[in-house]
């Protein structure tokens, strides 16, 4: 049997995946690259990123301050050598994007503009109005079309990593249009599957952000690192969870409570609206609990006010926010304050990968939001993620290109059996299963609401233990799931059930990792352990899969180079 075969296979067509694919062929134009994505690449959730991408571009800025801001922002859980490499590469990548056509907003002299962003001590966030992710994604995607070596499998859904003798040699994917199960082999596989926000109910993430790559790697024996570190963004729209970008505050917007007070003066007096996300989200919840939030049909909220900026600035710098306000809330942000509340946004944790994206399984790499290369620690600074996708997407692509130049060819023999087993698993468990009564939607919703309640902005042992019990029950119910769609053509229900399976696994890892970290650091705030504990927890959590729902946890020291951990005050 013949299989589609590549030198490097990239799973994911978002910013990290496409950047990686281009890096492979630019490193070695003779390599053949496959790119699998469950949606057309330009639908990837990178498209929704609004605010910007951080890079040191100005003479008054320095690598050292970008590194320091990132490390302090991470609450000292970032690996400092990784951060130092990142800040040096980010400007090169931003310029590369410019050469590829990204319409970065400009200063009057024609240079790329920068704007202030939370937790950054100086202006260093490059932006394309407030549709930065949209423009970056379309730019790299359209640029990728000029490389004949990149062969796409659009709307193909990866269900399994093929691992043979400790080496990753490809994937099994369902071609959604035909329903066919394909083995796609490669000498190296790069996971760039993005985030997992749909594990929570109230999230800025799109429907496709279901942690697939994290679960795929976890099942293949790779550890998931720092998964308790879940970022809540302070400003989501009630009901939909649609993000109002931090750039709104960067451009001078105020956050006010129901008394009209800029309450952040009690929490981050020196930074105010430009404090880091974890601290501002906690401040908002604390204000809500003190009765100082507004009450609305969709829960408590605060006001984000840009009226004083004036229409001209808003239209130049925040036009998409005005559009979102009009479309989804029925307000004009030029004249009305925006209702906002904290919303699950980003996963700092991810697939355990080193500075070149390599995981402990040879031939398997990870980049972008699904990976944890050690950049973000306990709290990612806004606008570091798009830059991370570029820097580590490129680094991973280059590393994979080097690796495959000396890697052995993949032998087709064992692949056939693995494909058969995987096909059978999915047919028996879902497509052809006769019994079962549980609906996907019901289990998914219960998981999401449980995660919101138990693993949100503030956590306690009691809440987390309760959550482990609920997740156990959801696992049992998942065993009794029934799908109604047995068609082979574009079976979105099958995709949903496979995604739910991935998400339950990710939820379990988050919960157990959070339970074990008995301290408060970055986004992980334990009411029962309110202090940071460097003695015990200046360490990465690494979770490995076991036969139980609870993972086996290991800890690894954080790499410190030039920045000694200090109290984190703003």
């Amino acid at each position: 049997m013949d299989f589609e075969s590549y030198d490097v296979l990239v799973v994911g067509g978002g910013l990290a995946g496409i950047r990686a694919a281009i890096a492979v062929v630019e490193t070695n134009p003779s390599l053949k690259v496959g790119m699998v994505s469950k949606v057309y690449p330009m639908r990837s959730h990178t498209v929704s990123a609004e605010g910007g991408a951080a890079a040191v571009l100005r003479p008054e800025d320095s690598y050292e301050t970008h590194a320091y801001d990132t490390i302090k922002g991470s609450d000292y859980l970032a690996d400092q050598d990784v951060v130092e490499a990142f800040v040096r590469e980010a400007p090169i990548e931003v310029i590369q994007m410019e050469h590829w056509g990204c319409p970065w907003s400009r200063d009057p002299d024609g240079k790329i503009s920068v704007r202030p962003f939370g937790g950054m001590t100086t202006w260093r966030t490059c932006f394309a109005a407030d549709k930065t992710g949209f423009h970056m994604l379309h730019t790299v995607f359209q640029t990728s079309l000029k490389y004949p070596q990149i062969h796409r499998h659009d709307e193909a859904f990866v269900t399994k990593l093929l691992v043979e003798d400790g080496r990753c040699v490809g994937v099994v994917a369902i071609d959604m249009r035909s329903g066919r199960f394909d083995a796609i082999t490669a000498k190296a596989v790069i996971l760039a599957t993005g985030g997992m926000g749909r594990v929570y109910a109230f999230t800025t993430n799109g429907n496709i952000c279901t942690g697939d790559g994290m679960a795929l790697a976890y099942r293949a024996g790779v550890g998931l690192k720092d998964m308790e570190m879940v970022q809540f963004h302070p400003t989501g729209l009630p009901f939909t969870g649609i993000l109002i970008t931090e750039a709104v505050r960067g451009e001078g917007g105020y956050l006010t409570n129901k008394d009209g007070e800029r309450f952040l003066k009690r929490y981050v007096p020196n930074k105010m609206e430009l404090g880091p996300r974890d601290i501002i989200s906690r401040a908002m919840i604390t204000e809500f609990e003190a009765g100082r939030g507004f009450e609305g049909p969709h829960g408590k909220y605060m006001h984000l006010d840009v009226r004083h900026l004036g229409e001209a600035v808003i239209d130049r710098k925040l036009p998409f926010m005005r559009e979102l306000g009009r479309e989804f809330v029925g307000i004009d942000i030029v004249h009305d304050p925006i209702p906002v509340r904290p919303v699950m946004h980003y996963m700092m944790g991810g697939v355990d990968a080193n500075i070149s994206g390599a995981t402990p399984v040879s031939g398997l790499y990870a980049a972008g939001e699904c990976a944890n290369v050690g950049l973000n620690g306990g709290n990612r600074l806004g606008s570091n993620s798009l830059s991370e996708c570029l820097v580590f997407g490129a680094a991973t692509g280059r590393a994979a290109a080097d690796y495959v130049s000396s890697a052995k060819a993949v032998s087709a023999n064992p692949i056939e059996g693995m494909l058969k087993d995987e096909t059978k698993r999915i047919e028996m468990d879902y497509l052809e299963k006769k019994s079962g009564e549980e609906r996907i939607g019901a289990i998914r919703e219960d998981m999401q609401l449980s995660m919101d309640a138990g693993a949100g902005v503030f956590r306690t042992r009691e809440g987390l233990e309760n959550l482990t019990k609920q997740l156990g029950k959801l696992r049992d119910r998942f065993g009794r799931i029934k799908i109604e769609d047995s068609s082979r053509t574009f079976n979105t229900e099958l995709m949903s059930v496979l995604e739910l399976d991935y998400m339950l696994e990710v939820a379990e890892v988050i919960t157990y990792s959070a339970l074990a970290r008995e301290e408060s650091r970055g986004a992980h705030a334990r009411r029962d352990f309110p202090e940071r504990d460097d003695e015990k927890f200046l360490k990465h959590t690494i979770a490995f899969r076991t036969d139980e729902i609870s993972p086996r946890l290991e800890y690894r020291d954080v790499r410190i180079t030039n920045f000694k951990p200090q109290a984190r005050a703003y």
């Binding site: 330009m42 959730h45 009057p108 429907n207 996907i440 068609s487």
Partner: protein, 246 residues
């Protein structure tokens, strides 16, 4: 007060079973004024019928995947509010002018090929080294192409285009708008390579000033303008012997 409800009819079609598409009707709660058409579909899929198939992801009007025909008009379903239809009913069908894959999912491979054919990337005679920094570009220069760079590839304009409906060899509104986006970019020097693709595409000359594409575009792109401008360019460059050929 009795619970508000709304009737939603959606196209069902499974090529393995059905010879042609049919409409299925669902009666669902309209529980929140903020609900959009996509929420109605998601309600059906979660609570009533798990086999209904459609695409969506961002639910904020930017990924371009949720385009469908709602009561006869091409719409992003994540940005079309139920309250604008209630108490009337809603009929959701796939985008016109595309083959149906399944239910509300259409085949857009044709566009993906067309997109590639117009070379949607910066073309330069000589690439600038990265070390030389950025190309200088002013906000006014960005204004020249800004609107054409807002295209989310949602396909609503193709669904509305009478010319594409008759002849799918026509490059179509979004592809031409995107070619224009690059041609007008001060960093690009690829106009000469792109113009023949457009000039030789069937249908360009049939496009009238109807401008249905620009009317339905949810992102304020004006593909009709791109097409008219391009016609002017192509005729100047290819028909007039002494036209501006750079």
């Amino acid at each position: 007060m009795a619970e508000k409800r709304i009737t939603v009819r959606a196209t069902r079609f499974d090529p393995a079973k059905d010879s042609e598409p049919r409409l299925q009707s669902y009666d669902i709660p309209f529980s929140d004024d903020s609900m959009v058409v996509l929420d109605a579909l998601n309600y059906i899929k979660s609570h009533v019928d798990g086999s209904l198939s459609y695409r969506w992801s961002c639910r904020m009007g930017i990924c371009g995947s949720c385009g469908m025909t709602v009561n006869g008009t091409p719409k992003l379903t994540c940005s079309a509010f139920l309250r604008d239809y209630w108490p009337g009913s809603i009929t959701i069908t796939p985008l016109n002018n595309f083959p149906i894959v399944r239910d509300l999912v259409v085949d857009m491979e044709d566009f993906m090929e067309k997109l590639k054919s117009i070379k949607p990337w910066i073309i330069r005679k000589q690439e600038m080294p990265l070390g030389a920094g950025e190309h200088r570009q002013t906000m006014e220069q960005i204004d020249d192409f800004r609107q054409f760079s807002q295209c989310i590839n949602c396909m609503l304009c193709y669904a509305a285009c009478p010319v594409y409906g008759l002849d799918d060899k026509f490059l179509g509104p979004a592809a031409i708008a995107l070619a224009r986006r690059y041609n007008l970019d001060s960093r690009d020097q690829g106009t000469k390579e792109r113009l023949p693709v457009i000039a030789h595409s069937d249908g360009v000359w049939e496009c009238s000033f109807v401008g249905e594409c620009s009317v339905v575009c949810p992102k304020g792109v004006d593909p009709a303008k791109a097409i008219q401008q391009t016609k002017l360019d192509t005729s100047v460059r290819f028909i007039l012997p002494y036209g501006n050929r750079e």
